[in-house]
Amino acid sequence: MVVTARELPALLPLLVVALTALAGAAMAAVRRSHTAAALVAGAGLTAALACIPAALRQAPQQLTPLLVIDPFGLFWTGLIIAATLIVVVLAHGCFARRPDPPVLVYTLLPAAATGAIAIVCSSHFASLLLGVAVSSVASYGLMAGVTTRPGARDASVKYLVLAAASTAVLVLGMALIYARLGTMEFGRMMALFTSRADFYDPMLLAGLALLVAGLGFHAAFVPFHPWMPDVYEAAPAPVAAFIETVSKSAVLALLIRDFRQSPTEGGSVYLLFTIVAVASLVLGNLLALRQASLERLLGYASIAHTGALLVAFQAGGRAGAEAATFYLTASAVAMLGAFGSVTVLSSGDGPTRLEDCRGWLRRRPLAGGVMTVMLLSLAGIPLTVGFRGIWLVAGAARSAGILPLLMVLVAASVVGLVAYLRVILVMGRRGPATPAGAAGAPAAGGLALGLLTALILGLGVWPVPLVDAIHAIFNGFV
């Protein structure tokens, strides 16, 4: 037996989330009650969240070759569980109106979160592969099983087939690297990279490129992005929020962790990421400007944010990694809030066209205000956490001396600002007399949105706690 009782606390968050999914499945077989299922999932996720301090006391710890439980992994584990909890709350509010509420959603959400946790804690190809597979398979169910929107089946097929194909690309890359190096542990791979001169071996490099391409689909950077707006348009808003904040952030967090210190400065992988960062920034922001539906706009905004994150990534070093972590956290919170307020504001039957947003600010000042704050944070306006994020990224890029990338970042941000302001202006316009949306937010959903808004504004004014926490996380690495 490899995991002893003493090491168990470190594994507890992952285990409790997995058990929540199993309990949800068992309960769905016995009794199909929507609220009860949501309560079980909520209780399980809260318990998992409560296990994190205990796990943190054990960190850093290597649990079998597959998982490493360190402060960085636990930080993301906490964020993933908290985001899943908020999505559960939002989903309950959103689906309770349906005549046949989807009970299995509250099983699939923790299952997908288990995969995401495995991704951020992985130190081995096996856990990375399984994490990606679990979170994408559970996302197929969330996406295809729940939505009733126009084009739902097409978008689901698209998502499923492309996710499976890109997992195959990822696995082929892993196999090539394994065939060359003979190990699948990230730590030993890094040691081999640095100790051996034959790093520029074609098989290894091809494997690395395929690995990045396979992860690129799940992280949705250009040229692997186009599924994202389509899926967000067809998925119910809580599911889109989940895919955005949990599945995507987990893969990006993994990139921050494992490519942070790869000795490829100036090498071909570095060039690759530069091209990807610029393309994502430019294409994401320009296309966000042109979208007629709110969900598609948020999808392209997400692609642009991935590009900005990769700029921090390119800055490299500890400052770059810290900036990237802060930025990713900030944009995940804002995206969660944005999709959350879409859940509350929109009728939920189809994609929200921009003209549907007319009058939101007048008719529903609270929820519309939340949406405005989230959009301002995504745009990087001062006093929001998004501004702090982009400030840190720009600072890291400046001190690393990558001025061309910095200039692209600034120019693209201006374009993005126009895209977000357009939505806010439409929301402020006088709307139709008959409210099209649902009546009133459920109390729990409103509370969650209030919490997110408080986080955005609070950390925007006083970001020191988060900056300090992220700084402490990276102390373990160096």
Partner: protein, 163 residues
């Protein structure tokens, strides 16, 4: 032995190509099954008995699934007893026979021990590794199956069923 691997690999390529170029799913499924069996044969000859067994189970399952689908196809196209017409099974059978010949050749000439895998990669070793270093992977694999089953259950629900 290398000849046998080459033969199985060739069968895999031919069967896969035929599978993805068919006009109807029912026609593609037998070829896909043969493709899986051929990959299983390659794995077996490379000493990966456990993987071979799983691939073969998947392939056999697909062929079992294909038989009723082919029959249904015959009914749908209104071609009478077309589904039971031997021609449709000719090429899959030939490919399967080739595979059988390849494995049979190795078995008769080199014996069972040739397929047992080396000490480091035999079935016992795989099982030990699965319950030892890859324990967390096994837990995640359970979650993977659960997620797949639940996703399928949710997608295939009858309308109006809260599931």
């Amino acid at each position: 032995m290398p000849t046998a691997v080459d033969l199985a690999g060739l069968v895999a390529i031919v069967a896969t190509t035929l599978a993805v170029t068919r006009a109807r799913v029912a026609q593609a499924l037998p070829y896909l099954g043969i493709s899986l069996l051929a990959i299983a044969a390659v794995c077996l000859l490379l000493g990966a008995a456990v993987v071979a067994a799983c691939e073969a189970a998947a392939g056999a399952g697909l062929i079992a699934l294909a038989a009723p689908a082919v029959r249904r196809l015959g009914r749908e196209t209104g071609a009478g007893r077309e589904g039971r017409e031997p021609g449709r099974w000719l090429w899959p059978s030939l490919l399967a026979l080739t595979l059988f010949a390849a494995i049979g050749y190795v078995l008769t000439h080199e014996g069972l021990t040739a397929l047992a895998g080396s000490a480091a990669t035999g079935p016992r070793e795989v099982a030990l590794v699965l319950s030892g270093p890859y324990l967390a992977g096994t837990i995640l694999a359970v979650m993977l199956l659960l997620a797949g089953l639940l996703a399928a259950a949710r997608i295939l629900r009858p309308p109006g069923d809260a599931r």
